[in-house]
């Protein structure tokens, strides 16, 4: 265990964690996870100082996604479970963030995504400190996490 602050990465692959280990490991101890369940287990181990979140989780098994597919299908997509699944995949990162906040994790969260300003504003209303950077840019991510 290093003395560096922990950065929890949640993504459906390995790209974010790989990037973070290469360009952010001077200030962060990077801990990569693939699902909401893994992420929640990780925060029980140690509280992170920052969250780096993927948005789309289309490589995750449907049963590992957060969100009630049937409820979403009924509420938003006229009962269409396929569209509900795509929706849960496409927006999974925000749902993971919601679950982490529910678990008491208040660390700043960063998405690598060009959200419209109002969407970012909404996410902040819901989840507190949330930032978004338009591309993989280590300096911008550091700034967003408050460590530059």
């Amino acid at each position: 265990m290093s003395g560096r602050a922990r950065l929890l990465v949640v993504e459906d692959g390995h790209e974010y964690a790989e990037f973070a280990r290469l360009f952010l490991s001077d200030v962060f101890d990077v801990h990569g996870t693939r699902t909401a369940a893994d992420a929640l287990a990780a925060v029980r181990e140690a509280a992170p100082a920052g969250l780096l979140l993927d948005l789309r989780f289309d490589r995750t098994r449907p049963e590992d996604l957060l969100g009630d597919r049937d409820e979403v299908a009924a509420r938003l997509f006229g009962g269409d479970r396929d569209r509900a699944l795509r929706y849960l995949q496409d927006q999974q990162g925000t749902l993971v963030l919601g679950a982490l906040r529910d678990a008491g994790v208040g660390a700043p969260a960063v998405f690598v995504h060009d959200f419209p300003p109002r969407r970012l504003h909404n996410l902040r209303r819901l989840y507190g400190q949330v930032e978004a950077v338009a591309s993989f840019d280590a300096e911008a991510i550091r700034r967003a996490l408050g460590v530059s």
Partner: protein, 537 residues
């Protein structure tokens, strides 16, 4: 837009057949044949219009589109009267030709009781007005399928557009047969009088056989020759997006995939590694990361070509990305990067410079695509739109006869936009409002209908727009029937349209004394830029 939820659009077939003869090809024998064909066709139909000529093409096009948005019967004539030699006229004729095929297919399917007739008709509606002559076969098909209210509507539209001649006589007789309660419907309603810049052409059948044959041959020739030069006549993605709003969902999906998979994860991700290389302090791992993102997995050139093929498949002849300046530059940058495989290292400044320049060009390209997606079609839902829809429905024959105790339209608290083509949105809302009015018309008083808009915040930070049509009738379509395309309800047509826009329809319990609410849901289109955001607020 640009999210994966638009996937459904990417596979949507795009028509690139007859409509293209009306494109301003502008060169060679095709243009000659096209002009001859169009001239002959116009001479045969008598559709040329002095009034239309007097208007500037842009003004004429605006008026023609306005007529169509208001669903005026004269819209088709107004579109057709536009000069195909102008850009606006060419667009109008292209879309008319495209829509015509879909309308005819819809009528055929309806007549044969085949599935998806409504979908085909809806696809036509999304593109351009219907030739008024098609109202008669459509009315007959509706009659034969037991859709009598619809049949009445289309007979009336046909008679308004084609008031005389043998077909008109037959239409009147057939309309009368639908029932004695329809007495009086043959009187032309003032609100239905066509208001196009010229009278509709009702005697288009009076064409001499040799002239018609010549026109047909010329059109055929134009098609054959036109296909040969289609590529030369097609334009950039920006231009296509500007001219063809109906393609925006497909464009959004394609651009979204390209940006996410290639430009974000492979190109965008290596910016820091490149900077480290430039500074001369790149670690072995960072160099390996750079190499794996650019040269690992599917070769960059292959991946790039795959995206070009996807655009080509979805958008067809309308687009030639090899002629698009942004894609051309991006393609060259991809080529530069691909050619550097195996040559990257800490001591190759020339290689680094070329790589850095290509990377910067692709980042510019990504920003350009983001800007393009931000400009795609959006329709504002406000009180004016809702009231316009309600007024149009009330101007229809059957809904106009229902005596309502209350018809309320509540303005949204703030203007909201949705990523839906306006024509489709109007069609969808009209169907729901029409059904509500007809349902309360079959129920005991008090007969109440209300339209309003509610916006909900989702846990994803997105906002969902709920457009509710509440009414006092206990008669409620089941959720299943809403999604059954064989259902004898316009709502089935609505569900087909909604699925194209990632929307949905549902029946909910009514509130405030209403028996039920039919609710349309769309994801709200959020302003892309801060300035838009302030304006919207």
């Amino acid at each position: 837009m640009g999210r994966a939820r638009n996937e459904g659009f990417a596979s949507r077939e795009t028509s690139a057949n007859l409509e293209t003869v009306y494109e301003p090809v502008g060169r060679g024998p095709c243009r000659v044949a096209t002009v001859v064909a169009i001239t002959l066709a116009f001479a045969c139909s008598g559709a040329d219009s002095p009034d239309a000529e007097a208007l500037s093409s842009a003004e004429g096009w605006r008026r023609a589109q306005d007529l169509w948005e208001r669903r005026e019967i004269g819209a088709w004539d107004a579109w057709r009267a536009l000069d195909p030699a102008t850009p606006e006229g060419a667009e109008a004729h292209r879309r008319l030709a495209e829509a015509d095929g879909r309308y005819r297919e819809g009528v055929r399917r309806l007549r044969e009781g085949a599935p998806d007739a409504r979908t085909a008709l809806l696809e036509g509606v999304a593109v351009a007005p219907m030739d008024p002559r098609l109202y008669l076969p459509l009315a007959r098909a509706c009659r034969d399928r037991g859709l009598e209210p619809r049949a009445v509507e289309y007979y009336l539209k046909f008679l308004a557009a084609v008031p005389s001649g043998p077909d008109a006589e037959a239409a009147r007789a057939e309309l009368q047969e639908l029932g004695p309660e329809l007495a009086g419907v043959f009187d032309p309603a003032p609100s239905r009088a066509p208001s196009a810049p010229h009278e509709p052409s009702g005697a288009k059948g009076a064409v001499s056989a040799p002239i018609a044959g010549l026109a047909g041959a010329a059109l055929l020739g134009a098609v054959v020759l036109g296909v040969a030069v289609l590529r030369r006549g097609s334009g950039s993605l920006d231009r296509l997006a500007e001219r063809s709003p109906e393609l925006h969902p497909a464009i959004a999906y394609l651009v979204g995939s390209l940006r996410h998979e290639l430009l974000k994860h492979r190109i965008g991700a290596v910016g820091d590694a490149l900077r480290a290389l430039d500074r001369g302090d790149a670690s072995e791992q960072q160099l390996a990361f750079l190499t794996s993102r650019l040269f690992g997995g599917e070769p960059l050139r292959e991946a790039w070509r795959g995206y070009l093929r996807a655009f080509d498949r979805a958008l067809g002849f309308r687009l030639d990305l090899r002629r698009d300046p942004w894609f051309r530059k991006a393609g060259r940058a991809i080529g530069v990067i691909a050619a550097l495989e195996g040559r990257l290292g800490r001591h190759a400044p020339g290689v680094q410079r070329r790589l850095g320049a290509a990377h910067a060009r692709l980042r510019d390209f990504d920003r350009h695509l983001a800007d393009l997606v931000g400009r795609l079609v959006r329709t504002r839902i406000d009180g004016a739109l809702l009231r316009g829809v309600v007024e149009e429905v009330r101007a229809e024959y059957l809904p106009g006869r229902v005596e309502l105790d209350e018809l309320r339209v509540d303005d949204p608290d703030e203007p909201v936009e949705v990523e839906v083509f306006r024509v489709d949105l109007v069609l969808i809302v009209k169907n729901v409002v029409r059904n509500a009015i007809l349902a309360v018309g079959r129920a005991a008083p008090p007969r109440r209908v209300a339209v309003d808009v509610v916006v909900d915040l989702e846990p994803t930070g997105e906002e969902v727009v709920r457009l509710r049509v509440r009414d006092s009738s206990e008669e409620a379509p089941s959720v299943e029937s809403l999604h059954d395309r064989r259902a004898d309800r316009g709502l089935a047509l609505v569900t087909a349209a909604l699925s194209r826009y990632d929307g949905s329809i549902d029946v909910e319990p009514g509130t405030d004394g209403y028996a039920k609410a039919v609710t349309l849901r769309f994801f709200r289109a959020l302003p892309a830029w801060e300035s838009d955001e302030r304006q919207a607020a």
